[in-house]
Symmetry: C2
Subunit: 348 residues, 2 copies
């Protein structure tokens, strides 16, 4: 089932407008989710719209809330999302970080009282589109354990960055700090398959290959063990502690918990202006050298190509813009459910 | 064989002075290396002094070089290490990032024409000592492969951060972006042991458990696969491309290559001033809550404690300050060799 981008965009926009979200933030949020789908990152795209809509209708997300400035300086802002949709808030925060960076070389934006912001890469890319290096991160309710612990300790706190490279195709990386996303574990459970050792711990805090353990007191493992733990903790400190957002177990699940409650997520955005810090064309030439070096490395036996971060996303996006998106069944089920919730015709 | 800290410090200082390094930068470099040893990070402490001394005597490191300012703005500096010792250069760069952050909230310092700077964590900690969040990173000659490639592509580009927490004991994390350090592979090779799958690839780019493959066209694996690759690439862009330093294969090995050549390493330092961006006591209270949450998580079966990054380093340091450092044999061999090179009495 292939859905054209314009149809998906209209559907997402309509859904948010129907919940009382004003035109501009609704358009921004729709663009974040649809862009994410065009990258093939279906876990963070319009699949989640149904959950956001549920929260918008129940009050945990305030449809008309707008982000406000808490405090600012020459190189930074702290913002309050006021429990509105996280996408327009995050776009506004990154835009301010970019403006600060253009003025003084580097800019930081912190956000409190936000919600699940979708794919961190979208916000990092905003900076790259304007010739800056962008970094985006957020905290979340714990789902990942740490070495020596039993059960979840930190969120799968995402980290993304984007760096201007080829026109419209920045280097782009967006990662959760868990070994794998929870979605992969749920998928294995649904299919009755075992998972590789190293992805999950059970209720005793021990490694398990049984995907059902995730909902039985288990927890995801941090990527690269204590290193991923450290990076997730740094993100918690920048996006949560430094911003005044909810931290670890204070965060309310955007998808599982009572939709009348604000979730309290925090986020942090960083922008570095290349033209200020060095010369843009020199930077581009030097980066081209690095990327060509990576691409021209001999292939491993059995390997067909060496990817540079963003390659797959830009290829998938080109295909999606040309021919629409072929969604997996779980996304279609969610989109149909949302249409049903709203009493509008389904799109796929 | 236990060596008192003061003896080690004097030995390191004397070695650098004998090579013509002026008193102040020599003292700084000695403190970086000895502090690293007190943390138990022996791979990056005085063990490497012999290699630095060889370069200082051959000219690849210029004993009297001082770092110079290339360009600066309200929130950033770009510096040139002029092929001097990387430790005093890196301390100077982080101090400038800190000063910028105190003035405008966040500060960035880039460095080109540096060398191997030892443990990144030392520089991150300088920021934490003054109440700021510190981040330090550097590039290096490739030793780590990327998914799909055969052989090394990027350095094991280190990333460290420090965040003020308990007095004198900041949260501190210092990681290479490879799965494990090359030293662990060499150690296994020396002992004739196999290594776990996932650490190393062979000359075909395929996983191997034979540690001897590292010097036979093999390469370390990136931590967490494509995620570690992405983080190492981000570090390469910030510490190498953005600063005008040597990148990937342009970097000369500080330990293996002709010591008459400058190595060209780059580094990047970031500081965020907590008191500017929020209220320091509020930050401290919120961080305490997060850390207590981590420490009070139930233990996994068989686990004795949950570590917060820095715990081990501060415990080892307290023991080292009280009773000296019990070095492993490989460090003692290097220190004795250095004494021999310099014609001074050995200390252990």
């Amino acid at each position: 089932m292939t859905i054209p981008i314009s149809v998906l965009q209209q559907f997402a926009l309509g859904a948010l407008r129907q919940c009382g979200v004003p035109a501009e933030p609704a358009a921004v949020a729709a663009d974040v989710l649809v862009t994410t789908d065009t990258w093939g990152v279906f876990t963070h795209g319009t699949k989640n719209l149904r959950g956001y809509v549920r929260r918008l209708r129940a009050g945990g997300l305030r449809p008309e809330a707008q982000p406000t400035l808490v405090k600012e300086g020459p190189a930074w802002v702290q913002m309050d999302g006021n429990s509105g949709l996280a996408m327009p808030t995050s776009v506004e925060a990154m835009r301010r970080a970019i403006a600060k960076a253009k003025a003084v070389g580097i800019g930081f934006a912190g956000v409190r009282n936000s919600c699940h912001f979708g794919a961190a890469g979208y916000y990092a890319k905003l900076a790259a589109d304007e010739g800056l290096i962008g970094v985006a991160m957020a905290n979340d309710i714990p789902s990942v354990t740490v070495p020596g612990a039993r059960g979840a300790v930190l969120g799968s706190n995402p980290l993304a960055f984007a760096v201007p490279h080829e026109a419209g195709r920045p280097i782009l990386m967006d990662m959760a700090t868990s070994t794998v996303a929870g979605g992969k574990i749920y998928a294995a459970a649904t299919l009755g398959k075992l998972i590789p050792e190293g992805w999950l711990t059970d209720e005793a805090g021990l490694p398990t290959t049984d995907p059902n353990k995730l909902v039985q007191g288990g927890a995801l493992t941090p990527m690269a063990g204590h290193k991923g733990y450290g990076i997730a903790l740094l993100i918690e400190m920048l996006a949560g502690v430094l911003t005044g957002a909810a931290t670890t177990w204070q965060v309310v699940s955007w998808s599982m918990h009572d939709p009348r409650l604000p979730t309290g997520h925090g986020a942090a955005f960083l922008a570095l202006d290349i033209e200020t810090l060095t010369d843009h064309s020199e930077f581009a030439e030097r980066l081209r050298h690095v990327v060509q070096g990576i691409r021209s490395t001999p292939l491993a036996v059995g390997s067909e190509r060496i990817l540079v971060p963003g390659d797959l996303e830009w290829e998938r996006r080109a295909a999606a813009l040309a021919g629409g998106i072929e969604f997996p069944e779980d996304v279609l089920i969610s989109l149909r459910g949302l249409a049903d919730d709203l009493g509008v015709p389904p799109i796929g």
